[in-house]
Symmetry: C2
Subunit: 505 residues, 2 copies
């Protein structure tokens, strides 16, 4: 039976039918078969072609910019400015991966020539990374472009040489379809096989996709609950596959007394922007800020409240995000020692609109009940009197994607002492800045200890490509069986030859 899917405008709360139906099992068969066929086809094409594919996809997204942004705005409530920025980030990301594909370091090409070693005569061994196979991508609600159908998981999986089947997010179905169509047009422009990019609609079809034998890996951005359901499906498979989940994050921020003395107002206004941008619905939103107790800390809290009072109410992405936020707000207000400095859980506007919240608690009162992720425009200020209080309260914060500090040069020795602890608790340390606005680049790491992610990998930046590759070694293979990049005469990629790095020429 055909199941018609709906979409909701979070600005008004109005729900309407789309012309999209849930993917049937027969359709899923075709999509998965096409992806498997595409995997074999793409593997035979060169890196240059693959870079061109990514660039053509970026071009097609760019060509449909106005339509994509309008559709996404109606499904997510995010502002046009934010969505335009996100789309720019998305096309930039595709182009940067194209650059990395051409550069070729990601292949980790290595050659150990045959010869005598301390272990005696040894054979010729050559190693390189190969694509894993079709990748299923589950995007997030809060980034309809950059972490969804055309986002980082898709870009890195394609860059690695894999076909991608995206699961359309239920909160932005039309945006997902429009993005998919742009990617497909790009693929067609460079003559890619039909299964290079696919899309699946509906929760159950998405779950069934993960169970399919042909799927070689899953990229996921979303909640721990949804991730757990998919990981259970993977556990039931005959062949286990990697699941790369970006799951949740509280992102503690530590402010020193010296930093407050030097630039309290500046930090307060920065924090307000970081907490309320995109209505606080960012995985890197600082959810807990540690502030020195006393007069300076109170002035800082007042500054934060003042800065956030001036911020427009934000629209949450969908009714699930709204109800989770309401629940988190209420639980936090009920936790021991918490006082509200701004807003109330009853404040309501049109659709899924909410008002920013500032809450406060003494560090001595902090328990895990105070440090659960509240996905929305909310920050908890934790006032601490000394290092012991700070460290004890920090220990109650779950490991996160990021940890940030605002400090002065005079704090350096103190920070150096804290560093081993901070490095264990997150995947990125931000100094005198805010964790939101994740740079896409070669040196980025967007990951962290559990429950921030479930692996040692990143979902942002060039090294995200490593998730969708596997090493392979060829022993004594004649030239005709080796990939181009491992042949003796080839110098187009950096390689490690007999232990020494050789740059490309």
């Amino acid at each position: 039976m055909t199941q018609i899917l709906t979409t909701t405008d979070p600005r008004t709360g109005a729900r309407s039918d789309t012309d999209i139906t849930a993917t049937t099992d027969a359709e899923l068969d075709d999509i998965v078969a096409a992806a498997a066929a595409a995997a074999a086809d793409i593997a035979g094409r060169g890196r240059d072609w693959r870079a061109g594919l990514l660039e053509a996809m970026a071009d097609e997204l760019e060509a449909d910019r106005a339509g994509l942004v309008e559709t996404a705005a109606s499904e997510t409530g995010l502002t046009d400015a934010r969505l335009n920025g996100e789309l720019t980030r998305t096309t930039y990301q595709l182009r940067l991966f194209a650059e990395a594909v051409r550069e070729g370091s990601f292949l980790e090409a290595a050659i150990d020539h045959a010869g005598d070693t301390p272990m005696g005569a040894q054979p010729d061994v050559r190693r390189m990374l190969l694509p894993l196979g079709p990748v299923a991508v589950f995007g997030s609600s809060n980034f309809p472009f950059a972490f969804s159908v055309p986002g980082g998981d898709t870009a890195s999986a394609l860059a690695a040489g894999n076909p991608v089947i995206a699961k359309a997010h239920s909160a932005h179905l039309l945006t997902s379809r429009a993005s998919y169509r742009a990617l497909r047009r790009g693929a067609e422009k460079v003559g890619a096989p039909a299964g290079t990019i696919g899309i699946v609609y509906g929760q159950q079809p998405g779950a069934r996709l993960v169970a399919r034998a042909e799927i070689a890996a899953v990229g996921f951005t979303g909640s721990l609950g949804a991730a757990s359901r998919l990981m259970e499906i993977i556990a039931e498979r005959d062949t286990p596959i990697p699941f790369y989940g970006e799951l949740q994050s509280v992102n503690p921020l530590l402010i020193t007394a010296a930093a407050l003395e030097a630039r309290s107002a500046e930090i307060a206004s920065g924090l307000a922007v970081s907490v309320t941008g995109s209505a606080g619905q960012l995985c890197t939103k600082p959810g807990v800020a540690f502030v020195p107790a006393g007069e300076a800390g109170e002035r800082f809290a007042a500054d934060v409240v003042a800065a956030m009072t001036g911020v427009d109410a934000g629209v949450l992405l969908n009714d699930r995000v709204l109800s989770s936020f309401r629940e988190a707000e209420k639980e936090l207000e009920a936790a021991p020692g918490v006082t509200s400095l701004l807003g109330s859980p009853d404040a309501a506007g049109d659709g899924f609109t909410v008002a920013p919240r500032v809450l406060r608690v003494d560090a001595g009162d902090v328990t895990p009940a105070h440090t659960a992720e509240a996905f929305g425009p909310l920050v908890l200020l934790v006032t601490y009197r000394d290092d012991a209080e700070l460290e004890r309260a920090l220990a109650a914060v779950p490991d996160s994607l990021t940890v940030s500090t605002h400090a002065e040069p005079s704090d350096l020795a103190w920070l150096q002492g804290m560093l081993p602890t901070l490095e264990k608790r997150a995947g990125r340390l931000v100094y005198n800045g805010f964790p939101t606005g994740v740079r896409v680049g070669w040196a980025q790491h967007h990951g962290g200890p559990w429950p921030a992610t479930n692996t040692i990998h990143t979902s942002v930046g060039i090294t995200a490509i490593r998730r969708f590759l596997r090493p392979f070694a060829w022993q004594n293979a004649p030239e005709g069986l080796l990939p181009e990049e491992l042949r003796d005469g080839y110098r187009g990629v950096p390689r490690r030859v007999d232990g020494a790095l050789e740059p490309a020429q």
Copy 2:
């Protein structure tokens, strides 16, 4: 209550008490606490110190060579020649990792300086890999050195900067303890903290080790069954941790008609050595060889039988390996269409001695019942009449660590056509050679699709180090908070700076 552990000499089957007792919970507390303390300590020492640690450990193993080999021979039944070779491999491995630690590429150091990009002004971001934390190592029965207490998992985990707690294998407890003591002497020589290397005795204590919160990863070489039990323990942890398992492998070998015509006898004698070396107890032993049907194939089979008839009976490692081998032999003989060309399941000698086995089946008869791993000196010859038969029978072989081919230049086009299939089925392709004797080097990959391993990583070669590291990014961090390798003036390791590779100077 103190539980005294026993050891068995597989050459005689004689079992005797050791002076080793199962690790108690209180002892485990101390071992784990010492490892956690060592992790923090080691992190503060430089790469040069760490390389020296590995070298000192190699020196101490070498200094105790005679004693280690004698103890291992009495517990494993492996020959002195084999054990001496394995110990050489083990110390070579430690020294090669020391070289890699000094070289520093494994850190994947990268710097994106602050500046304008197509995404606007961006912060300074620097990325490098950090040690994961204490690693539990579960070694194998068949490599008492190279894949056990002082083996590749230990070497790569230490090279990455992590303390290691080894679980002593029940089949070579005394060897494990003597190896551990050598490693500890090496650690003491360079002033390493006490918890740098630890050891745990007994099955239950090993299981409890994996459950401990302080353990950050597990390296494992052994059976799928034992791996599953440990993975279940990990699934129950509050914090999941990576489990790197090297599990099982059948290692199919494909022989073409042209290869038989050119060098049938040579391939037959090579196969006999590869199947019977170490009594066939190697994860890379070729278990199934595909041979062209007809007269040349029959001559080849006769040559294999002749070569293996001349081979001494082998001693299996322990009673579990013996009973598994007997069961595998019987199941294989009972499978449809199988005929025995050499040996019988009833052949018995002293202790756990077994005789080599050669069996044969037509490719048309092959089912998964024919292609289970038989850990011991056994090979199944599969005679095929054409490509279709070969491909169908090959599909019944589980994915493996390796796939090997014996072919001639005239087979190149045919092999190129098979290549995509072969690359999907294994982690290493061996051309005109045998998969046993895994080279330790920069370009090695010892891993494969499930059930060969459960991850996209290797357990042999320098890149094995990546398993025990996690990326970390520093944003706008002052020099004093950065690791030495990420400071602007440092040039001691290769780095990626603003997207371009810079060699070390």
